[in-house]
């Protein structure tokens, strides 16, 4: 029964798409309304909440001293974790993260790590002995689609407002976390042969396949991940990259530049 309704809905959304329309009246290159709040958890060293349409994601950043990896003795460590809390959707279950959660966490992590957004060399306390370990914990509070983009945005915003708690550990005065870039993730859903940004929950169910592209401030690509079974052609990939870079620049200008200027 439920599948038949889903099929009807699918056809409905699909037919709208053929006419260049979306269920909620947005254009194919239009994001839902975004609200970004920072520093909302005072116990965390940095935090941000992103509300993307009805999707809500909260990111908290905690810093703790720890031992560095043997192959990078003078660099801080980034650990990203993402939890699909059971509170966020009737489809989520409590317990160990499943493959979707793990994949999303790793895509968010890659964007931040590979773009060099955090200056990890400045997170060294004593070479080979002690470095800062940056825990980026992404909590999904409400799933209405496109969790990755919301998570990417919340994560980078949280990092940009993070303060290194030197005083707490008696290593000096507190300083803002050294940042070098502003990676922004943009996810494109492929429906038929068309690409649309910021898929809603229904659109995600219809299109099955998404491509996330994380791009840096200089227009280069820091991470990509295709999710779902439907193949992409080469031309579609290049089109997706163009669209993602354009939207990323827009989001960066609207939400992140302001955070950077505060410092």
């Amino acid at each position: 029964m439920s599948e038949i309704i889903a099929t009807l809905k699918k056809d409905y959304i699909y037919n709208l798409m053929i006419k260049g329309k979306r269920q909620d009246g947005r254009g194919f290159k239009e994001f839902r309304d975004i609200k970004l709040e920072t520093n909302i958890i005072s116990k965390a060293e940095g935090s941000a909440k992103v509300t993307l349409g009805n999707t809500q994601v909260l990111v908290g950043v905690k810093l703790q001293p720890g031992t560095p990896f043997p192959d990078s003795q003078n660099e801080g460590v980034i650990i990203t974790n993402l939890e699909l809390n059971a509170i966020a959707s009737p489809d989520f279950e409590p317990g160990q993260p499943k493959e979707d959660a793990i994949e999303m966490a790793r895509v968010v992590d890659r964007g931040i790590r590979e773009s060099g957004a955090i200056d990890i060399k400045k997170l060294c306390i004593a070479v080979g002995e002690s470095v800062w370990i940056v825990h980026i914990d992404v909590h999904i509070l409400n799933d209405e689609g496109n969790l990755i983009d919301a998570s990417c945005l919340a994560a980078i915003a949280a990092l940009m407002t993070t303060v290194v708690p030197n005083e707490q550990y008696g290593i000096g005065t507190n300083v803002p976390l050294a940042m070098k870039g502003m990676p922004v993730g943009v996810t494109l859903a492929k429906i038929g042969s068309k690409l649309m940004v910021d898929p809603s929950l229904d659109e995600e169910a219809v299109c099955e396949t998404k491509l996330t592209i994380v791009s840096s401030s200089d227009g280069s690509i820091a991470g990509m991940q295709k999710m779902g079974p439907v193949p992409f052609s080469e031309a579609e990939v290049m089109e997706a990259i163009d669209m993602a870079c354009e939207k990323a620049a827009e989001l960066r200008g609207l939400y992140l530049k302001g955070l950077a200027n505060k410092e």
Partner: protein, 480 residues
């Protein structure tokens, strides 16, 4: 990416050679053995550079636990697992976050080609064991799985081929080795179908859109080479020469030569354009050949009286699938039925019309859907239910038919494929399969054929010198 003290000064020398002696557009030597496990339904052992991968395929078999079963298709399960001794620092046994992610994207890479709809309520299990890891294990595993699936006789629309490109010392290169993976600037694994549709794509590092474009071109070339190796291995195992077809082939001597010429390995990058042209020519000729084959199939039609009928049905089904209209047709049927039986009240329809001002072309459809959305009276609902069931069963039937036909068609194609090979053989000076695969796929295939007899130590020797491993302490990638 990661910065380590023991980074080699240069990953690419001034004369354009990489640490293992390859050029930017060359893949590492690959060796494939097929059917290496007796208990698995299909299996494959693959070596690619220093990677050693073992894949076993089980199924289609009853899916357990039963709640995993799907009523309309098989469940595909892909488990990528690294042996604890496969990397420099011992890996903790059991699934890591990395291997869970790789398993997921690899499964998705295969879903478009595996005809899972043919085996409802079953599971197709692909188990990958990485015995030795040396950068590019997920691509190697996908190449091996493709062969193992074929070995298991799982119906597929085509093989999946996988290869990575990356950026090293500012240059875009194909198929990264361990040092390049550790110290390079980007890694971009790709899997694609035989038609070049991308079914797996991941990326980390730092690339510009132009570099990605260039890399995708390179990776296409790499995948083509790998596909040839895969096909050669499968042919060697499964082809049985069919004598009667040999004489039927006319014009192919020319083609055969050109194919061989075209597929010789690239010595210099400047030759690439020439070779590409040749390839295109060869492809065109192949197409011509295909036309000829249709003549052959016509001959077959005489032998099998039902053939023509069957072919028509296939064409119809194909046309439907291509235009993506199967659903539409079924939908139209739903509407007609619903309207005929008068289960939809006019009120509901009008209401729906007001709500959804859809265009005229789709009006009928929209009426039905929208009326559905506009929450019809409970009695309507009850009446609708049996129809839905009816319709859904129809859908299944239609799908099943077309798939069955597609499968039969695929078998036909396979047969003709074999004829083609057999015909090429007659024009080779030495009609043995071994010599043929050697000429076609050059080095890697030679490896594949040779290494089956030779002891393991010699496998990694290519035409280029294999450079001794500088310490593999780098922790990026494989031993996370």
């Amino acid at each position: 990416m990661s910065s380590m003290s023991d980074k080699p000064e240069k990953l690419i020398t001034d004369d354009g050679l990489r640490l293992d002696g390859r050029r930017a557009d060359e893949i590492r030597p690959m060796k494939i053995e097929i059917g290496v496990l007796s208990r698995a339904d299909g299996s494959c052992y693959l070596e690619w550079g220093r990677n050693k991968i073992l894949v076993g395929v089980f199924g289609p078999r009853e899916a357990h636990p039963r709640r995993m079963q799907r009523a309309d298709s098989a469940v595909i399960r892909y488990k990528y697992n690294m042996a604890s001794f496969s990397v420099e620092d011992r890996a903790r046994p059991g699934p890591s976050r990395r291997s869970i992610e790789i398993s997921k994207v690899s499964r998705e890479a295969f879903e478009p080609v595996i005809m899972a709809e043919l085996f409802p309520k079953t599971a197709i299990d692909i188990y990958v064991e990485v015995l030795q890891a040396d950068a590019g294990t997920r691509t190697a595993a996908i190449n091996a799985s493709s062969i193992a699936l074929a070995d298991a006789g799982i119906p597929m629309k085509g093989l999946i081929t996988s290869c990575a490109f990356g950026k090293v010392d500012g240059q875009i290169v194909l198929d990264l080795n361990k040092e390049e993976d550790n110290y390079g600037e980007a890694d971009f694994p790709v899997a694609m179908t035989q038609d070049g549709e991308i079914t797996l794509m991941q990326m980390d590092g730092h690339l510009t859109p132009d570099e990605i474009k260039k890399g995708l071109e390179l990776v296409k070339k790499g995948c083509k080479e790998i596909l040839e190796i895969q096909q050669a291995v499968l042919r060697k195992k499964f082809e049985t020469p069919i004598e009667e077809t040999v004489e039927e082939v006319t014009d192919t001597e020319d083609t055969g030569n050109k194919v061989v010429e075209a597929e010789a390995p690239l010595e210099y990058a400047s030759e690439a354009a020439v070779v590409e042209e040749a390839l295109e020519e060869a492809e065109e000729l192949e197409e011509e050949q295909l036309c000829e084959e249709t003549v052959e199939t016509d001959a077959l039609a005489e032998e099998i009286p039902e053939f023509e009928e069957l072919e028509d049905i296939i064409k119809e089904a194909e046309a439907l699938v291509e235009e993506d209209t199967v659903e539409d047709v079924v939908e139209a049927e739903i509407e007609e039925e619903a309207l005929e039986e008068g289960t939809l009240e006019e009120d509901a329809l009008e209401e729906a019309l007001e709500e959804e001002a859809l265009e005229e072309a789709l009006e009928e459809e929209a009426e039905f859907e929208a009326s559905f959305e506009a929450a019809p009276e409970p009695e309507d609902f009850e009446e609708l239910e049996p129809i839905e069931e009816e319709v859904s069963s129809e859908v299944e039937e239609v799908e099943f038919d077309s798939e069955e036909l597609a499968y039969e068609e695929a078998q036909l194609e396979e047969e003709t494929g074999i004829e083609e090979v057999a015909s090429e053989e007659t024009f080779e000076p030495e009609p043995e399969i071994e010599s043929e695969t050697k000429t076609i796929t050059e080095v890697p295939a030679e490896e594949a054929v040779k290494a089956e007899v030779e002891p393991e130590e010699k496998k990694c020797e290519g035409p280029w010198k294999v450079v001794k491993d500088p310490s593999e302490s780098g922790s990026r990638g494989e031993n996370e």
